[in-house]
């Protein structure tokens, strides 16, 4: 099945817009974005896996989780999503930052982002729109390095080669 995926960046407002269709009804997609037992199954990029320590899905509540490496090493970095707006089956908004294992803020070079997820049923499919607003797009590097991999490892060989080729064609 061909499912829409759209990724655009508004550099003026430091916002990343993502639209993605899913082949499931709204109830199921909503659960997949808001219930820890389902989030744990898909949010971490393989071979990493996600471990949720706390999930309290209500306004003022929070989701505290971390990525576990294939070698089973727990990351020292924890991700914190604080729920600041919830309209059941319509949208929810989180404030995302990095923390220690107890959810206390840590200095990572990344301040925070505000992420709004909106859901719309369309027949058998559900469309999710994500708007992620960052303090500055410069912080994206820190966001990726802290959230997903050890610093620097996120930039694989392929990306570097593509980057070098783009340099050579632009000069």
């Amino acid at each position: 099945m061909n499912l829409l995926f759209d990724f655009t960046v508004d550099k003026a407002t430091n916002t990343i817009h993502i639209t993605r269709e899913f082949a499931a009804d709204l109830d199921l997609v909503w659960d997949a974005f808001t219930k820890a037992e389902i989030l744990d199954q898909w949010v971490a990029p393989k071979p990493y896996r996600l471990e949720t320590k706390e999930m309290d899905f209500r306004v003022g509540g929070r989701w505290l989780y971390t990525m576990i490496s294939p070698e089973n090493a727990a990351s020292s970095r924890w991700s914190l999503a604080e729920f600041i707006e919830i309209q059941p089956k319509v949208s929810f908004t989180t404030k995302n930052s990095f923390s220690d294992e107890n959810g206390n803020p840590v200095d990572t070079g990344f301040t925070y982002s505000i992420t709004r997820n909106s859901f719309k049923a369309e027949g058998e499919k559900t469309t999710v729109q994500i708007a992620k607003k960052m303090a500055s797009l410069d912080e994206l590097e820190q966001f990726i390095a802290n959230g997903y991999y050890e610093k620097g490892m996120a930039m694989g060989m392929n990306n570097l080669e593509e980057y070098l080729l783009s340099l050579s064609t632009s000069k």
């Binding site: 993605r20 499931a24 410069d138 620097g152």
Partner: protein, 106 residues
């Protein structure tokens, strides 16, 4: 002398050096430890990469570190590409999870 960037990346050792310093800035000795060639040829490769404007030297105390020189805007674009790829992969994983959950309900 300004060199052609193609010349810089045509050589496998130079490509490997760029991948190393992309992860973190390194001294010539630390770079040489990764290769089975003489320090002199490493120095030559580093000189060529610097002349191509791909590496920049950062002195730190008595040591000199080489790091990848990346235009700031290009760098942001590169991280955006990386983020796009992460999101694409995540959503493909979610497609599989949704498929499994749908079948379980039936």
């Amino acid at each position: 002398m300004r060199r052609d960037i193609f010349q810089a990346i045509a050589d496998p050792t130079r490509r490997a050096i760029l991948v190393l310093v992309a992860v973190q800035a390194m001294t010539p000795n630390a770079i040489a430890d990764h290769f089975d060639i003489t320090r002199q040829s490493i120095s030559k490769h580093l000189r060529i990469l610097s002349e191509c404007d791909l590496l920049v030297q950062k002195p730190d105390g008595r040591e000199i570190f080489y790091e990848l020189k990346i235009d700031k805007m290009k760098e942001i674009d590169m991280w955006l590409d990386q983020f796009r790829k992460i999101m694409e992969d995540k959503f493909k994983q979610l497609d599989e999870v949704l498929f499994t959950l749908k079948n379980r309900k039936k």
